[in-house]
Amino acid sequence: MNGFVVLPLLIPLVSAASSILFWRRRMIQRWLGLSSSFLLLGSGLLLLYTIREHGIQAMQVGGWPAPFGITLVADLFTGIMVTLAGLIGSAVAVYSVANIDARRETFGFHPLLQVLLMGVSGAFLTGDIFNLYVWFEVMLIASFVLLGLGGERKQLEGGFKYVTLNLVSSALFLAGVGLLYGAAGTLNMADLAVKLRNANEPALVTALAMIFLTAFGIKAAVFPLFFWLPASYHTPPVAISAVFAGLLTKVGVYAIIRVFTLVFVQDVAYTHGLILGISALTMITGVLGAAAQNDFRRILSFHIVSQIGYMTMGLGLYTSIALAGSVFYIVHHIIVKTNLFLISGIVERRTGSFQLKQMGGLYHASPLLALLFLIPAFSLAGIPPLSGFFAKFILIRAGLENEEYAIVAVALMVGLLTLFSMTKIWAEAFWKPAPNEFGPRPVHRTMWAPAVALAVLTICIGFGAGPVYELSEQTARQLMDPTAYIQAVLGVSR
């Protein structure tokens, strides 16, 4: 019995429930949050190991057999994503000790973060499309409160845009689920894959696919549905923006990749061709938007948008290698982007601002911080031998093999423009002389530790690209050929 498939849901849930029980005890909540985040990371690694050794794990919740009950299913993609969720959760839980003020802690930061992680893990683990909607909502409601926590004016303004767009996306998603149920009579994704493969109305299925693409596209922030992201991600405290930047849009990307490899593969030339076009536009608009910004975190937010384009590019090409590139890119991006946000928080502690104009002289003031910024920044731009180089390299090779030269050109150009953006931050914040004196402000070591750990991880992925690529390729092969997935879900009863 593979009961531990449910562990990534139980650990944060128990932690959140216990934290609510100790509502007035901040220290207890803090330790509960920290230990549960690390346990989540551990359970993710355990899951990943088991999937590699014993194949796809599935569990019929409540003992109801597959197409009727809710199935939790974990293939390699799920395993990787849950592990990353645990990693980012742990990094942010450590970082929040010094970054989140006491007021936000008393209003439940720690249980909310755990509920968010539970929602994210649930979305990765579920094998039922309505259940996916429910986990999305769990994740969203936690993120709504986290975004507004503290109630500063800009948080509320940015929060409203975030809430509205995400609710529209949820309504569309739910309508899509309803129509899908009407068309196929099932909600289990493996069962849907089987039923829709022999569907006699391919046009209807493609129309449904478009509804899902729009709904998930808003969550993943692809062109032209991304405007909520740079309006809101820079408003809350850094620990919260970092976990949003690292995980939330990637849940949207995960959902797109999941349904467009498992369920909606009837008219690949049309749907995936469209995704490829969207990817190119997402990359370009994101990076151009970033060029016009002067706020550290707003630049990073626009780069999230541009990087989402790379992740969906692999899906658009729809070959084994391209998907492996997407998976590699997601692994690389989650780590690097979270790290950059964490570093922006350290910079803010030192200089007292997120505005590039107010910064300067950090290279002399703190060479370690400068080095720490350069590692993820170069990785993001794709400088070898860091993780971003290999991620882009695989995608571009896949593009060349498919003879999609336009998207390859876009990907290369956007990489260059990303480097330009990172150079801009470097020149403004680190290189130019400080515009005004700021005294030596100590930054707590709980803020340094996760940033350093993630930077080391980036370097490790760069130098150990072989094993990571191998894992991504196995993942991609599972995604391209869902027979094993369907077998694991529908073949196992009780």
Binding site: V134, G158, F160, L167
Partner: protein
């Protein structure tokens, strides 16, 4: 019946999107609520409207006259509870935003966009 429901759903969707396109925050939230009602009604309609058939029957009893699908009701109930919670949250957010910004005009909330 199904055509009537289709018209109602269409009406709710268009009213919802119209309200969301207004500048007032409160109207935006009303629009969101209409959108979720339309979606619930849509699930109800597409999964087959039937009359007088029980969703659950006692163990061992024969299916006289057929049964209706109980799943859409379960889906709608779940979606209703979720949208109830989110609507409550959105209203609290409107209240809080109104206190802090001093207006409910969306055009005046541009400090995050400079």
């Amino acid at each position: 019946m199904i055509y009537l429901l289709a018209v109602v759903i269409g009406g709710l969707y268009s009213a919802g999107f119209y309200m969301m396109a207004r500048r007032s925050l409160l109207k935006l939230v009303i629009g969101l609520a209409l959108l979720s009602h339309a979606t619930n009604l849509l699930i109800f309609t597409v999964s087959g409207v039937s009359r007088g058939r029980p969703p659950l029957i006692p163990d061992g009893q024969a299916l006289a006259g057929g049964v209706s699908d109980p799943l859409p009701q379960a889906l709608i109930l779940t979606a209703l509870v979720i949208s109830f919670g989110i609507l409550a949250f959105a209203l609290a957010l409107v209240l809080r935003t109104n206190e802090s910004v001093g207006t409910d005009d969306l055009d005046e909330m541009r400090t995050t966009e400079q």
